[in-house]
Symmetry: C2
Subunit: 363 residues, 2 copies
């Protein structure tokens, strides 16, 4: 579905504004921008025919936003509650004005419009897979149940999903915390699987895949997705700590220690483990990994950057600077079917599940 020009017009409400699957009809200020870029959204509970209203029970603030709120308010329960309530009252969404980021939410479907394409029904327990930074939200309980000590915010209120939003029904067979941790990164294994399958289809040699940050959430899921998509060899790169746990998880054919910010060291380590890689997946959330990822990749290969610490210019100029003919992908968090694929991986891969569970226990 494409925005306007060919807008999917799904109906009208009392004031006659037409609904857009992108949520343009909920943008109050400034006009003409997408909901994510808007300062203020219309969060009223009545829905357009292609919308869904969620009864919210929990917000998961993203880590950058939570840290900024703690530092700017001092972190008391009262100050934290006041800050979040003020933002949502001002903006009609929980988008931290300093970091620009949001998070996700969980809740239960309250009402699904007749034209909603999301396939949700009242009573479904869901997590949103689009950012809070573009989701209309109203809070009705003053956040009375939140002590400000966690980015998990118990919350009563409602949120709106557009025709083109994404939500996943939470599975009954997995603990909610585990499911949320998996859904948070579900775009990475989906895109990695697609790229590795394409490389394998070009054959005749099965592709070598290097995962930088193989011990993390997106890295460990991407490693097993790569293997299932036809990788001939998966090389897991870890910075040192956690190597034993990653080896025990059995998600890579070989686990090597290297600092992804050291281009020569990284390329050498990957080469010694059977590289260079045909596909390199960057899941290390520190700046400065672009050059190493390029150098670790074979000519004609592909680098997928999932880290939000990636610098566009460092990647573009870095590849040019070493005459590297590699395809560099911006990791798109949306791939059709990504949520189901990631949940299926965590069910089928006990080694990866143990890594996730250890992380949940620690925090």
């Amino acid at each position: 579905m494409i925005a306007t020009g060919r807008l999917t017009v799904t109906g009208s409400r009392e004031e006659g504004r037409l609904a857009s699957p992108l949520g343009l009809h909920r943008v109050l200020k400034p006009g003409g921008v997408l909901p994510q870029a808007a300062w203020r959204l219309d969060s009223r509970p009545a829905i357009w025919p292609d919308e869904v209203r969620i009864r919210v029970d929990r917000l998961n603030l993203d880590a950058a936003s939570y840290r900024q709120l703690r530092e700017s308010t001092g972190g008391s329960a009262e100050a934290m509650r006041g800050a979040v309530l003020q933002i949502v009252a001002d903006r009609g969404k929980m988008q931290n004005p300093v970091t620009g980021s949001g998070g996700m939410l969980t809740g239960v479907v309250d009402e699904a419009g007749p034209d909603s394409p999301l396939g949700l029904a009242p009573g479904d327990r869901v997590a949103t897979l689009v950012s809070l930074s573009l989701t209309p939200l109203a809070i009705t309980d003053g956040l009375a149940g939140w002590d400000g000590q966690s980015e998990q915010v118990p919350c009563a209120g409602h949120a709106i999903l557009f025709g083109r939003s994404i939500a996943a029904v939470l599975p009954g067979d997995l603990p909610t915390g585990l499911a949320l941790a998996v859904l948070d990164v579900c775009g990475a294994p989906a895109l990695t699987g697609r790229v590795v399958a394409d490389a394998a289809a070009r054959g005749p040699i099965k592709p070598v895949v290097a995962i930088l940050g193989a011990g993390g959430k997106s890295g460990s899921l991407s490693a097993v997705a790569a293997r299932r998509a036809g990788a001939g060899r998966v090389i897991g790169v870890v910075p040192g700590e956690g190597a034993a746990a990653v080896r025990a998880a059995g998600l890579a054919d070989q686990v090597v220690l290297a600092d992804a910010r050291d281009p020569v060291g990284l390329a050498g380590a990957v080469a010694a483990a059977g590289g260079p890689a045909d596909v390199t997946v960057v899941c290390v959330d520190v700046p400065g990994c672009e050059g190493g990822a390029v150098l670790a990749t074979a000519p004609g290969g592909t680098v997928i950057f999932f880290s939000m610490a990636t610098s566009f210019t460092a990647a573009a100029l870095g590849a040019e600077g070493v005459a590297a003919d590699v395809t560099m992908l911006i990791g798109n968090g949306y791939v059709p079917g990504h949520a189901d694929l990631a949940l299926d991986l965590i069910r089928a891969e006990p080694g990866v599940r143990r890594l996730f569970e250890a992380r949940l226990t620690e925090s």
Copy 2:
């Protein structure tokens, strides 16, 4: 060729350091980084067996670096000369420490090592296609011929190309200014042509290609590269000014006016012109074009970002926020054969050549 682990060892010099095609042997400070990231390079004129020494006659400072130098020095000839000489003396390369950027240079091949893979011979007149920010350089004339009023810096001295550097022999049939302007952006038409050819090969419908910023250097060349690679329809998007010249150049099937920073307006304009696009090429050097590029692109399509103003996070989160299944590429400035392809395009496409010549006359 991949860096270390399987370093292509090409020989040794008096002090016994082995040459690396990446130029690691020329890095003096700090150790272990690539030449672009280094503070100081060894710019001595004696070459390793896989290197080439250039007798420099002109530096072309990149626009961001030149502007910073003017603003910080006041812009007098003496101050500008002093600033550039100081940087090159301190660093062994012309990398502006504030902007991090460099530029390119022209000169004549003085000596080519026996193991150089670049195919250059003494007397060849060349332009470097890797940044000055990683090129060992020494200046011997005090920049006496430069008045500081142009980013084109007449200069005597020498520069070093590594095994994995890139340089193009300047063609005898094109004015030097025109050839340099084309070589400056030659990665864009090469990568656009490759992506469009891949899309066309998947058939059966020939791909629709939208070029954002079709009147600029990289945009106009990418437009004609797309057509030659099998585009079924090329939609040129321009911001308003210059539309008549772009139409007259005949490089697109349709030229439409739109602000690439207005997602809904852009997507509507592209849709009305025969879109959405299967391939969208972003050549507009202003921030904020990520959302519009994504919305203008069909599901399953590809966006190529060439603009250095692209934000990695805006692209990644923007696509996820509208559930857009699009492939997003970081425009790699290096594609094998890119220089020859771009020079051939400017020879064969008089409309595009007129756009370039008008730009050169203006400046």
